[in-house]
């Protein structure tokens, strides 16, 4: 984990209020797992006036050769509205890579994986899918959005494997929720990232195979020191009784922590 003023190498709009940001720097080399995140200080001009708290954003993908990471974020709040104005050539104060991502090292016996994403939970699953495909795992992606205008990275996922787009209003892909299509699907392992109700629904559906979920919590430090981001363990006898999303997570094996 390092703090670095990374160089912005690209920023573009992907969908309604959704932006893709590319950052170059040494930090990229330190990324060890898909699903890790960075904690970004969004500065005002001159760096003299800025929102107090950093903003946690998942690493969508990492290009080791280019020393680049790609982030995808939704604007709409104070910090992300400033972030979307950041321009190539400027630098951004980034702390990362943080936390533990999706375990992809020892998945030799897995043949088929399904990744399930909702909204801005989709980005980290892209890096994950690419990694899995590289390891010879076939990946089915089920990506849920509110509406057609919110859909992003469809083509990118399709290049990696079968991809099902779902929208709540049916304006793109299949109408419904990601869990509507899970039944009877053939996979060895599942990975999910998205809003809490989605994670809960997925956890109910996928009880018989390994499932890894990525959690969100409001954060302070982002490195495990302030205990802003804790979640209870489901195991009442766990010696700590809690996990920190920022440093123990954000990815947990389903059942390790309470979803609430």
């Amino acid at each position: 984990m390092i703090q670095e003023d990374m160089l912005i190498t690209g920023q573009r709009s992907l969908a309604d209020q959704i932006f893709e940001l590319k950052l170059r720097g040494k930090l990229a080399a330190n990324v060890s797992e898909p699903g890790q995140f960075v904690h970004i200080r969004v500065n005002g001009q001159s760096g003299s006036v800025a929102p107090i708290l950093r903003r946690p954003i998942s690493i969508c993908s990492r290009d080791r050769a280019k020393e680049e990471i790609t982030l995808i974020f939704r604007s709409g709040g104070l910090g992300t509205d400033l972030l979307k104005e950041a321009e190539p050539g400027e630098r951004l104060d980034v702390l990362g890579p943080l936390g533990h991502g999706f375990p992809v090292r020892d998945i030799h016996d897995m043949k088929k994986a399904v990744v399930i994403g909702g909204g801005v939970g989709v980005p980290p699953l892209y890096g994950l899918s690419a990694e899995l495909v590289k390891k010879g795992v076939s990946v089915l992606s089920i990506l849920g959005f509110r509406s057609a205008k919110d859909v992003f990275y469809k083509k990118e996922f399709e290049e990696l494997g079968e991809t099902v787009i779902m929208t709540e209003d049916g304006t793109s892909g299949i109408r419904g929720r990601v869990t509507d299509v899970l039944d009877g699907m053939d996979f060895d392992v599942a990975y999910a990232c998205g809003p809490l109700p989605m994670l809960k629904a997925v956890q109910r559906k996928v009880s018989d195979r390994p499932l890894y979920i990525s959690m969100e919590q409001r954060m302070g430090c982002g490195i495990g020191a302030c205990l802003a981001c804790v979640v209870h363990t489901t195991d009442q006898n766990d010696s700590k009784g809690y996990r920190r999303v920022c440093s123990d997570g954000p990815v947990f094996r389903a059942g390790e922590v309470e979803l609430c």
């Binding site: 703090q3 107090i52 708290l53 409001r218 490195i223 495990g224 981001c229 804790v230 979640v231």
Partner: protein, 312 residues
């Protein structure tokens, strides 16, 4: 130039992380050498382990943040066995922050902590609600704060700094009460009570509803209180509230602080403490100050002198 000597604390510099913003140092210790720090104020210890409040526990506010962590900690025994053992490997004084909801909790926790050789001083967090007195916080009634201080002083093997809550009508009365009760120093300020409501959910953002406001937003309140209190007490003050830079540290010293703690700013910049420590010498040089202790209370000492002479 930066060395500061306070009861129990021989500090190479006056900058330390504030309680609750640095846990027990392990995480920041991965980022830089903790020996750079003047001291470390570790997270509040209670007698029993506490899980704290439900999440969300933090919210952002204009130039500040709210927190309602709820004193989550593994309890004094585990802190001593796990955390202090690790911290013993550093050459940096540890100040143990103590909390409780009964006087007896405080006393027992304080005694245990003060026996540990790594701990050089205690910081009594009196902003906690007193269960016995119907939830009134220890830190808002001078008599209760004084009694608590006295009882902790009676058992503590180390100097006791009392950390004052700013949520009071008269902070000088609180300060004087705990000074008389034997406090060796003061820490000020703790957080201001605040709230944010999410206009989308129409509910308070924090699960606990109210939280403690920290960060630059509260700096003017802290400076005012330290300015007032430092003129009324003889014990030293560890100043805190919104410190982000060496300039802020100097402002605190001018107001009357003898050392400072940095809380919220660690979240924005995890290297802020060592950066401030590195920046201070040059700032002092530019002010023609050779010893930071010269600055303590200079904002009012100068005034005092002026008033004196204008009386003649």
């Amino acid at each position: 130039m930066l060395a500061v000597h306070l009861p129990g604390l021989d500090l190479k510099n006056p900058v330390m992380p504030a309680s609750g913003c640095f846990a027990f140092g392990a995480e920041y210790g991965n980022l830089y050498d903790l020996n750079k720090l003047g001291a470390i104020i570790i997270k509040a210890a209670t007698l029993e382990p506490r899980f704290g409040n439900p999440t969300p526990r933090v919210a952002e506010t204009p130039c500040g943040m709210l927190n309602a962590i709820g004193l989550q900690n593994p309890g004094v025994d585990k802190i001593i066995s796990n955390e202090l053992t690790r911290l013993a490997g550093y050459d940096v004084p540890i100040i143990a922050n103590i909390a409780g909801s009964e006087m007896s909790d405080y006393v027992e926790t304080a005694e245990k902590m003060s026996l540990n050789p790594v701990v050089k001083a205690l910081e009594l967090n009196i902003s906690c609600p007193n269960v016995r007195h119907g939830g009134i916080t220890f830190g808002t009634v001078p008599e209760i704060a004084a009694e608590l201080t006295e009882r902790v002083k009676a058992v503590s093997k180390k100097p006791v700094y009392v950390k004052l809550s700013p949520n009071v009508t008269d902070i000088t009365a609180m300060a004087q009460a705990v000074e008389e009760a034997g406090a060796d120093g003061l820490s000020m300020i703790n957080t201001l009570l605040g709230m944010r409501i999410d206009i989308k959910t129409q509910k308070p953002i924090l699960a606990n509803k109210t939280g403690g406001l920290s960060g630059p937003a509260i700096k003017p309140v802290a400076i005012r209180m330290i300015y007032e209190v430092s003129q009324k007490v003889r014990i030293p003050i560890i100043g805190m509230g919104g410190i982000q830079s060496a300039d802020d540290v100097i402002e605190y010293f001018l107001a009357g602080a003898s050392a400072v703690a940095v809380g919220t700013a660690n979240f924005a910049d995890p290297f802020v403490c060592p950066k401030i420590i590195d920046d201070l010498p040059e700032k002092l040089k530019a002010m023609h100050v050779t010893d930071i202790n010269e600055l303590v209370g200079r904002s009012w000492k100068a005034c005092a002198k002026k008033n004196e002479s204008s009386l003649r």
